[in-house]
């Protein structure tokens, strides 16, 4: 019968002596517990290593007083499905601090050896019919992931989690985005916003808003979820005064308590736009300095941000998924499936105020110099950078062209 | 038509997929109860059971045992016990799961 110890097959240095057989004068012997108890006095005087087989029906209590005299305790498994030896082994190791060899004998399936090891066994006698390779394959399956502490002293999963706090969720941002898409990609917008704000990214998420014509929808959803959610408002310094007034009205109406106005770096603007015509001669650079870079600075520390892009806003925005990754941050598009009708219905149902410029034909509103009215039948964003190739400011499709 | 007579057939579960199988005249294991080998008498039963043990040893089947069947009509075997009829012909719940109709319904005796 192969004996396995320390991940090796070894010759058994112990002589197992049957209950009625004579005990040799020298050498290590393994005896049944009944015989040990009966002949204890004589055996103690014998000057050689002594092992006891704790036969079925016996417990650690039968040998605790003598544990320091024993170099080996063998515990037989009466069948593969008899789990008593697991408890006995743990008691011997953990409660009675037995430090000798603890040997599993009897019905030992190689698949069970990892469990036995966790309970304190350190040698195993397996059926000769079992291939040694199989035994080592099973031992290899003894990985480092255990929920509960046992006699092997392996660090528990709870301890591993504690050592690497914050890394407990899927570590890579891309993988996290994919997982969120699977879990929550089909949630209705309002639920998705709540799920993200209240739960998934609690205190680590912001909503970036221009306070444009449709912004009230998502602002309202954010306010319903948690009015203390940070709302980042990009003030490029070139906005319509109506937009600023609308912002104040909405913030008040929705009870948003953490609106932060994000402004461009004045030194950068002074250097690049001394003539106040950057928006005309290099609109991409203008957007970069007035929107993209300020937003990047403002998003520092946030793991995710919500935005209001919709699939119907021009051909560039049709195939949006709910979750994207940008700059190692999750970007969430709750309204990606929304159309004009849904937006209109939300405004109506919840009696939200409209942007004052909307009635004047401005359907998508950015900075004053680069926003035009939209004619009936035109794409909603047709009034943005009219007469130029430019369709996006760069917040959502970076990097843009010449800087 | 002869009157129904009782005989034994050997059944088991196929190791790989657990499907109900019967030991056939050609010494194979078949999903078709129609192909089952009938025997009668203790000697023949012992021989058949030995075939079952061999099926286990060859890793073809699990848990072989004999069942009693009535031979009716054109010798179509009908298990005596309801449990074995359900094993042979599938669940009795109406309607049976979709794929069951294709797979098992063709054995249902008329």
């Amino acid at each position: 019968m192969p004996l396995i110890k320390n991940d090796r097959v070894i010759d058994d240095p112990w002589l197992a002596v049957a209950d009625e057989a004579e005990i040799p004068l020298h050498g290590a012997v393994l005896l049944g517990v009944a015989r040990w108890q009966a002949e204890r006095t004589a055996l103690v005087l014998r000057n050689a290593a002594l092992g006891v087989r704790l036969d079925s029906g016996h417990g650690p209590e039968d040998i605790v007083a003598d544990l320091d005299r024993l170099a080996l305790v063998a515990i037989p498994f009466p069948s593969f499905s008899d789990g008593r030896p697991y408890s006995i082994a743990r008691l011997l190791r953990e409660r009675y601090a037995f430090s000798g060899e603890l040997r599993a004998v009897g019905a030992v399936l190689p698949d069970q050896i990892p469990l036995m090891r966790r309970c304190g066994f350190d040698s195993f006698v397996v059926d000769p019919a079992i291939r040694v390779e199989t035994v080592f394959e099973c031992l290899g399956a003894y990985d480092r992931h255990h929920y509960q502490a046992a006699a092997d002293g392996v660090e528990t999963i709870a301890a591993l989690r504690r050592r690497a706090p914050g890394k407990s969720q899927t570590s890579a941002t891309a993988a996290l985005a994919a997982e969120l898409e699977t879990r929550f990609g089909n949630l209705p917008a309002e639920d998705l916003v709540a799920q993200m704000v209240v739960k998934e990214f609690k205190n680590r998420i912001a909503y970036v808003s221009s306070f444009g014509t449709e912004a009230a929808v998502l602002l309202h959803m954010v306010a319903l979820a948690d009015p203390a959610t940070p709302v980042l408002f990009l003030d490029t310094g070139k906005l319509f005064p109506e937009t600023l007034a609308y912002r104040d009205a909405l913030v008040d109406r929705l009870g948003l308590s953490a609106v932060r106005t994000v402004t461009p770096d004045q030194a950068e603007i002074a250097a690049a736009d001394a003539g106040h015509d950057l928006c005309r001669c290099n609109p991409d650079l203008c957007c970069t300095l007035r929107k993209v870079k300020p937003l990047d600075r403002a998003l520092t520390g946030f793991a995710a941000w919500l935005n209001g892009r919709k699939g119907y806003h021009g051909t560039t925005r049709i195939d949006l998924s709910a979750f994207e990754v940008e700059e190692d941050r999750i970007k969430i598009n709750p309204l990606r499936h929304w159309g004009k009708a849904e937006v209109g219905a939300w405004f109506a149902t919840h009696h939200l105020p409209r942007h004052p410029l909307e009635a004047k034909g401005f359907l998508s509103i950015g900075c004053m110099p680069c926003t035009d009215r939209v004619a009936p039948g035109e794409d909603i964003r047709a009034g943005r950078w009219r007469g130029q190739d430019k369709t996006e400011c760069g917040l959502h499709n970076r990097p843009t062209g010449a800087v | 038509m002869s009157s129904p007579m009782l005989s034994q057939i050997l059944t088991a579960s196929r190791l790989t997929d657990g499907r109900v199988v019967y030991f056939t005249e050609t010494g194979q294991w078949s999903e078709q109860i129609l192909e089952a080998l009938f025997v009668a008498g203790p000697e023949a039963e012992t021989t058949l059971l030995a075939q079952g043990r061999q099926g286990v040893a060859f890793r073809q089947v699990v848990d072989p045992y004999l069942i009693e069947v009535v031979r009716a009509g054109k010798d179509d075997p009908l298990p005596v016990r309801l449990r074995e009829r359900i094993r042979a012909f599938g669940p009795t719940v109406y309607p049976p799961p979709r794929a069951l109709i294709a797979k098992d319904a063709r054995h249902v005796p008329v």
């Binding site: 992931h145 709870a158 899927t170 | -």
Partner: protein, 549 residues
């Protein structure tokens, strides 16, 4: 709901690889069936009547829509397009090939699911209130405890080969929707006189051939002591539970042999000596779980007022299938899986996909599976109820029967199960049809009918207000009928009403009992209350009148 992290995933992935190796060794002949059986059972694989059966764990009945979609895919690709929700909040596939199991487990692992410890003599899926975390009558969300116990019990090296299976249920509500007195260990979150939350520990309950109602082992256990206390119970059971006779191997027999007081003393002696998990780790883990199980929205105190006039059918549905929620603007909606042409708890792959879509649309992508074999949507807005109801009506999932007579609980019975001695699904269908013809379900009122196809009592017949047990009498299916069982806190064991009846007479017999109740009930009395007031006599008389016909 609980979210796996890299460690949980690594653990499950490791077990999939391990089982793949075990299946290979079995198919190559390195393992014989006797050696393989405990290994496959540990992974939820049974050999059933028609094929292998795979029981997938749904920890404490909490299921996400993407998980249900994957279950639908598995049903399509590896099974016959059908799944069965069990009385222990799990899901079974009936026609899985052994060769396919490792792949199926691999797919499950991708959505953080597995079949670990859904069978075998180990600590099984921890069950709880399907309304956990949203129930209005809750002391504390029991899922936090259930998840702590799930982790502690998963591959606990000491307790995988117990004398017999071991079932634990937790509840945190005033109303017991988890049948804690019918479990090997039942935990009830309670407050002590000072208002501190802890557990009432109930032990030794169980059904099977020796039904026993669990007794209170300790009326208040501080929360911090839970794991050492439970570990002590498990260790005593593992060491001293009977292993010579599988019918006497459950902990209830040990408790009867030793006596509940003596056993409680043994536990008291043992548990202070059990090694305690690091309290900081438990606290950190608990904090994580509290966050995981928190509502995905802010609960509200004000409910919207809906003045729209609605169908009576809508209100019947609301009355039966809609339960109050912690957040005043939301409701808990039960989708009964009791359509008359399918077995209780059965669900097709197509329906799984549809329900997953509904969960996305109405319930934050979250569902619960109840031990009454229904699906629960826990987060539905009141304002969306009419629209949800219309959709459910179309799908046949709006039968207004939750908790009423047609909401029958049944095991798969002899149509699927190798242990069964009689069929149960057909009986459930017969009774449903008969009672439907008798009176509207809300007229009959709260009535639990439970059917088991054999003495193992997976249909929980002992706990049914009316319990039905299928037995084999010389090759014929007969059914024993009990009355007065209950799975509430005041759990009672059903009493046999008379001799077993043949399958064809079961519906008659049940009808006679229902008619006797309707004749005797006072006011709004429920079936069980009438029975408890009058005792068995009037029911026995009604039953015998049918029996003599």
């Amino acid at each position: 709901m609980y979210r796996y992290d890299v460690h949980d995933r690594a653990l499950v992935a490791g077990r999939v690889d391990e089982f793949r190796g075990q299946v290979r060794r079995r198919l190559q002949g390195e393992l014989n069936e006797d050696q393989f059986r405990p290994l496959r059972l540990m992974n939820g694989v049974y050999l059933q009547l028609h094929s292998y059966m795979l029981r997938v764990a749904i920890p404490y009945g909490v299921l996400a829509s993407h998980q249900l979609r994957l279950l639908a895919t598995i049903a399509h690709r590896y099974d016959r397009g059908l799944g069965h929700f069990t009385t222990r909040q799990n899901l079974q596939f009936n026609w899985i090939g052994l060769e396919d199991v490792p792949d199926v487990l691999g797919h499950l692992a991708r959505v953080d699911m597995h079949a670990i410890q859904t069978s075998g003599n180990c600590i099984r899926n921890i069950t709880t209130d399907p309304f956990a975390g949203v129930a209005k009558d809750e002391v504390e969300d029991p899922r936090i405890t259930a998840e702590l116990l799930r982790q502690w019990s998963t591959f606990h090296p000491e307790f995988l080969y117990l004398p017999r299976k071991f079932k634990v249920a937790v509840t945190g509500a005033r109303e017991d929707r988890a049948a804690v007195r019918w479990h090997d260990i039942g935990l009830r979150l309670v407050r002590d006189a000072a208002g501190t939350i802890g557990y009432e520990v109930i032990a030794g309950g169980g059904q099977g051939r020796t039904p026993v109602i669990g007794a209170t082992l300790r009326s208040f256990l501080p929360k911090a002591d839970l794991l050492p206390y439970i570990e002590a119970i498990m260790r005593l059971y593992n060491r001293f539970g009977r292993r010579d006779n599988k019918y006497k191997a459950r902990i209830k027999i040990l408790l009867q042999d030793v006596g509940i007081e003596a056993f409680a003393r043994m536990v008291e002696e043992e548990w202070p000596r059990v090694r305690r998990p690091d309290p900081h780790l438990i606290a950190a883990e608990t904090a994580r779980l509290v966050e995981d199980f928190a509502l995905p929205y802010r609960p509200r105190k004000d409910s919207p007022v809906d003045t729209t006039e609605r169908d009576l059918a809508f209100w019947r549905w609301v009355a039966a299938n809609v339960a109050p929620h912690q957040s005043a603007d939301r409701a808990i909606v039960t989708l009964p899986l009791k359509s008359i042409d399918q077995g209780p708890g059965d669900i097709t792959a197509e329906k799984m996909e549809t329900v997953a879509d509904l969960a996305d649309r109405y319930s934050h992508a979250e569902m619960r599976i109840s031990h009454h074999q229904n699906i629960v949507l826990p987060h539905v807005r009141w304002t969306e109820l009419p629209r949800l109801w219309e959709t459910l009506e179309r799908l046949g999932l709006a039968e207004p029967i939750a908790g009423l007579a047609p909401d029958i609980v049944a095991c798969p019975g002899m149509d699927y199960c190798a242990l069964a001695t009689a069929r149960s699904i057909g009986i459930a269908q017969d009774i449903s049809k008969r009672l439907a013809a008798l009176a509207p379900p809300e007229h009959i009122g709260a009535l639990r009918l439970n059917i088991s196809g054999c003495i193992n009592a997976c249909g929980h017949h002992h706990a049914g207000h009316i319990g039905i047990l299928g037995v084999d009498k010389r090759g014929e299916e007969f059914y024993q009928i009990t009355i007065g069982g209950s799975d509430d806190y005041d759990a009672t064991l059903g009493t046999l009403i008379g001799p077993a009846v043949p399958a064809a007479r079961v519906a008659d017999a049940i009808e006679s009992l229902v008619l006797a109740y309707l004749a005797h009930r006072q006011g709004t009395e429920r079936f069980l209350e009438t029975y408890r007031r009058l005792g068995i006599t009037p029911f026995k008389e009604a039953f015998h009148a049918v029996d003599q016909e």
